[in-house]
Symmetry: C2
Subunit: 509 residues, 2 copies
């Protein structure tokens, strides 16, 4: 501990007398009671919110979401407005100021969602439905909620962003309802930042933060995103991996060729891509790209202990996901998410199934996401991948290669590094504000799982870099929510727990 | 030469006095004149035919094509009818019988086409258009053909099946028009067989042939399909490779997973598939599956000579197709199509591009076509691929694997071997009837390229097996027709040449 940190800790002990959590716990219990008598109303309001399509690139509907949110906040007495910038989805900002407060907490969530392919969904992604349990465990649709009908907390809501990330917004705004009903007021200044471009890498968040630096300074940003630990325990997450999407296209003939007339002679780009991808990882999933694991900032003792104490759900997860084996050479999932990763998120070349034709495809494309940890910057990791592609004999270009380029090079790859990449963040577990949040969390629900990092990514680095504010995540949603995929869902119990936890955090002094 | 073959050859010399081709050449010249004064009418009739969608699995429109063909044939005095069988696209049969004829020739073509993905087409696949030249060389649409407007033989018609295989049907029926206009009558019995399921592997052709064995016996089946040699010379093809499509699906997690939360731990099926496919071929495209090249029937001296004499267009083709290199270890395309091949015709796993989401896909699929040569049966070749997959540690199943199967096996692949596979055929070049066709072809257009086999596949084996009749192919269409792919096209010059050649063949004694 440096002298400065020691001083901060000492001051923190004065400011936040431990054991903490009594007031927060009381608020959580109030919220629980309020929720029990308003479940149908909460679900109905949530359905209206989920009905507004929210794919990040669909700017028209993204705006509809922002305006709807503004309305939801204003009716709750939260002074709200939109932060706008050219070609940027609006950030919905709101505040509940406490006269004389010495602390400020910002609650961050995002209202946009990942792309959807409706044909992969059991029910349309923007027509929310309630199901009795998880779809792949036989969950059946509950047609209409009648007045006074008992509501099973194991029921799930199916819709895009039911979990990621509208659930956290609903939990927060319902927590405000509960506080208002009980006449309770936050003791700190509370600010809300709801972003509309998180799922495309928050390309404009830095602009919004820079333009509103003073307003958004705080003691802590609470990141309301991500799933709880698969054990179902309350989770506090101290960071998130960074992410760098990139796309690799390799080239065969200028146009698709008849596979009979040219097979054995015209190189097949789907084969070339397969060979290239196969060269990137070993059979156990370990990345074989040179320097891929170089520079990783080692875990602290606190972090190592937290990982060691994390409940081991791997075998249950493996069975739930029908996996005959796992990658990682025997390491646990809780350890493995502390390493960088390379994931093929999609492959495409010509057609399969009934659309397949006997052709040599003209191109083959792999969409990849790199996950990053502290000490492994996104630009550097992308450069390592590109170096590797070159080492496999490819001429690498960032734009569509022309005739001359393709004739002059035996192998040509176009690599598009998505400009949305960002680095990992890991907040120190021994910060006083971190200890304070842990205490509040434990006062509401115990045990609490402490995760040094989430496996997933949130652009926390922008917040750290521009505002110099630490971040922590308090996840609400179930681990098996199929976020980013089809049939995304949230379990009601997670919403109910989330409302209680958010109420407690809103009351944190 | 065996004594029997020698006897057949001697008899043939009596039956077909050489040099042959005078009458056929005269008919071709008559057809050329007739065509020159009817080009607009020919194109207009062809457009109407191309407007009828003809994807093999679209049974409703396939029937519309058959009925349209029936009408086209009946108006030309060809006695026609449909051969029907349950769950089978109709075969359109027609005949022009010559009283006292001692020979019978069957002209085979197919009226169905490969699947289309309209978004990949410059203009809709079933709205034919004329272009000034090849689309990727700047071909522009010619809006309307006015009366008397000169028609450039380099123009191309763009539409699905413009080449494969409606072009050959159009050439044949126009040849009949030309003969009728000149008062010429075929000297042999001429029969037409137009199939509607060739592009899905002719699954029912054996039924039709078996049910009409006597009617379809002949001296020769002339297969009107496939492209001419890239040199643009008239081509006679003595066989076709067999084909065996199959599809491999490998399995990751039961449902798509968030790539951040589970990356490094849950195996990625897109990577597994890449590794599996990469294990099947070397960098030069040579297949590394055990026994893949075993059993090939060697080429005869005549066949080797024909290949050696084939014009070498490889460098021009390589440049035209923007290829920086070719597979095959320096061998020529003309040689390489005499080997079996393994081609990845499509890849799919989750999504790429703007639809890509940060997931570990649940499955990854590769569509593959195996091309076969004499001595390499399709069932055996598929079995070799499956053996290879097993050797890579996979449990192989033919149906969707259940929970138990997936939990019990580290790697699971579903391999669906398409029931449409069939073997290669290669007709001996020294058969008298083969020599006769070569002579007729040379009498019309010279030089003639002799191909021991087409690289592509046609189900000739069924004809050989059931009817015991030899087959030969006389291709009509340009090599760069993009058959099976988007923007399929035919060059008018090929149609014009095809009309002349078909007229000559219709007049063959």
């Amino acid at each position: 501990m440096t002298p400065v940190v020691a001083l901060v800790c000492a001051l923190a002990l004065l400011t936040y007398p431990l054991p903490a959590g009594a007031q927060e716990n009381r608020a959580a219990r109030v919220a629980s009671e309020w929720r029990q008598s308003h479940e149908r109303q909460i679900i109905e309001e949530y359905f209206e919110f989920l009905k507004i399509p929210n794919v990040s690139r669909d700017k028209t509907n993204i705006r509809r979401n922002a305006e709807y949110l503004l309305k939801m906040m204003n009716t709750r007495g939260i002074a709200s407005r939109l932060f706008e910038a050219p070609d940027t989805a609006p950030v919905v900002y709101g505040e509940l100021l406490a006269p004389g407060a010495t602390h400020t907490y910002v609650f961050y969530a995002h209202y946009d969602g990942q792309p959807v392919d409706p044909k992969d969904w059991a029910t349309p992604p923007f027509k929310p439905v309630l199901r009795t349990r998880r779809l792949d465990n036989g969950g059946e649709i509950i047609p209409v909620l009648t007045h006074g009908q008992p509501i099973d907390p194991q029921w799930r809501i199916y819709a895009r962003s039911a979990s990621d990330d509208k659930a956290q917004i609903l939990a927060l705004l319902t927590a405000v309802d509960a506080l208002r009903a009980a006449g309770l007021k936050p003791r700190a200044n509370i600010k809300f930042v709801f972003e509309g471009e998180e799922e495309i890498g928050s390309p404009n968040l830095h602009k919004i933060l820079s333009a509103n630096r003073d307003l958004l300074k705080a003691d802590l940003w609470l990141i309301c995103d991500g799933p709880e630990h698969p054990s179902g325990h309350q989770t506090v997450t101290f960071g998130a991996r960074g992410v760098q999407p990139l796309e690799i296209t390799v080239y065969g003939p200028k146009r698709e060729l008849h596979s009979g007339h040219y097979g054995n002679w015209a190189p097949n780009p789907a084969l070339m891509l397969s060979q290239l991808l196969a060269s990137m990882k070993g059979a156990d999933g370990r990345v074989t790209i040179d320097h891929f694991y170089d520079g990783i900032v080692p875990l602290s003792e606190l972090e190592k202990n937290a990982i060691a104490e994390t409940p081991d759900e791997d075998e249950a997860l493996r069975r739930d996901m029908w996996l005959g084996r796992t990658d990682g050479g025997g390491k646990r999932l809780a350890e493995l998410i502390n390493l960088p990763s390379l994931n093929i998120r999609g492959l495409a070349s010509a057609h399969v199934g009934t659309q397949a034709a006997n052709v040599i495809p003209a191109t083959a494309t792999a969409a990849i996401d790199l996950r990053l940890v502290k000490g492994v910057p996104h630009e550097q990791q992308a450069a390592r991948v590109i170096d590797h592609i070159r080492k496999q004999g490819y001429y690498v270009t960032t734009s569509e290669p022309d005739e001359q380029t393709r004739l002059a090079n035996p192998k040509v790859a176009r690599v598009v590094v998505d400009p949305s990449g960002y680095d990992a963040v890991r907040t120190r577990m021994d910060l006083p504000i971190a200890q304070r949040v842990i205490a509040v969390a434990r006062s509401v629900r115990s045990p609490v799982v402490l995760e040094p990092t989430s496996g997933g990514s949130v652009p926390l680095v922008v917040i750290e870099d521009i505002l110099g504010v630490p971040t922590l995540s308090i996840p609400v949603v179930n681990y098996d929510n199929s976020q980013h995929s089809n049939n995304e869902n949230v379990r009601l119990l997670n919403l109910w727990n989330g409302i209680e936890m958010q109420t407690a955090l809103l009351m944190m002094e």
